[in-house]
């Protein structure tokens, strides 16, 4: 039972355009959501997060949107750069459950073409 779903295994965009990565979840108890970026042969790097009391969080070129009623979040990268090419993982946690475990999606490979 996959609680966090990234339905697009890959995404290709042109440099300078917007990249939109999507993530859906099924557990309504999730209250904290994160995005990680992973380059080959490196560990995931924390990118940005959002708690369920917000619907938007921005950090430079990266914005995460949360739609709780749809159980959907998205990561917007504007403008996209070739160095953004990586695998992006969405993750969620139910901290009220007393555990700081994260549940990860399977990832979306983003390719930004020069």
């Amino acid at each position: 039972d996959q609680q966090v779903k990234q339905n697009s295994p890959s995404l290709s965009v042109q440099e300078g355009r917007i990249s939109i990565l999507n993530c859906d979840y099924t557990n309504s108890m999730f209250d904290y959501f994160l995005w990680y970026k992973k380059y080959p042969a490196e560990g995931p790097t924390f990118l940005i997060s959002i708690s369920s009391i917000k619907d938007k969080n921005e950090d430079g070129r990266f914005t995460v949107f949360l739609n709780k009623s749809a159980k959907h979040l998205s990561l917007h990268i504007v403008p996209s750069q070739p160095g953004d090419s990586a695998v992006y993982f969405c993750a969620a946690s139910d901290a009220q459950g007393g555990s700081e475990k994260l549940v990860f999606g399977k990832g979306t490979k983003l390719t930004v073409n020069p």
Binding site: L34, A41, G43, F46, S49, S93, A95, S99, E100, K101
Partner: protein, 113 residues
């Protein structure tokens, strides 16, 4: 900056061997985690620990055990390595508090022959 260090980047072992993967973090984090990453499967939690000598099973603990004798160190043990344990292994740590990210090491690419 948080530093999570995994002892080996690449490791090759033989079927049936006992394998130790070591992870050290330098930020006094209470929580530590072991994941494996496989193509098309994302990150799957093997074990985690929220304190010294404490451990809890994750989603795929079979064939693995862990040890946490010191707060900064979390070891993953493959009791008798098998070829289906060939994978990328990732260690992470986090503060024991709500809404905190986990910080990852660079991973160990383990091949079991």
């Amino acid at each position: 900056d948080v530093k999570v260090t995994q002892s080996s980047r690449y490791l090759v072992k033989r079927t049936g061997e006992k394998v130790f993967l070591e992870c050290v973090q330098d930020m006094d984090h209470e929580n530590m985690f072991w994941y494996r990453q496989d193509p098309g499967l994302g990150l799957r939690l093997i074990y985690f620990s929220y304190d010294v000598k404490m451990k809890e099973k994750g989603d795929i603990p079979e064939g693995y055990s862990v040890s946490r004798e010191k707060k900064e160190r979390f070891s993953l043990i493959l009791e008798s390595a098998s070829t289906n344990q060939t994978s990328m292994y990732l260690c992470a740590s986090s503060i024991r508090a709500r809404n905190q990210p986990q910080h990852f090491g660079d991973g160990t690419r383990l091949s079991i022959l």
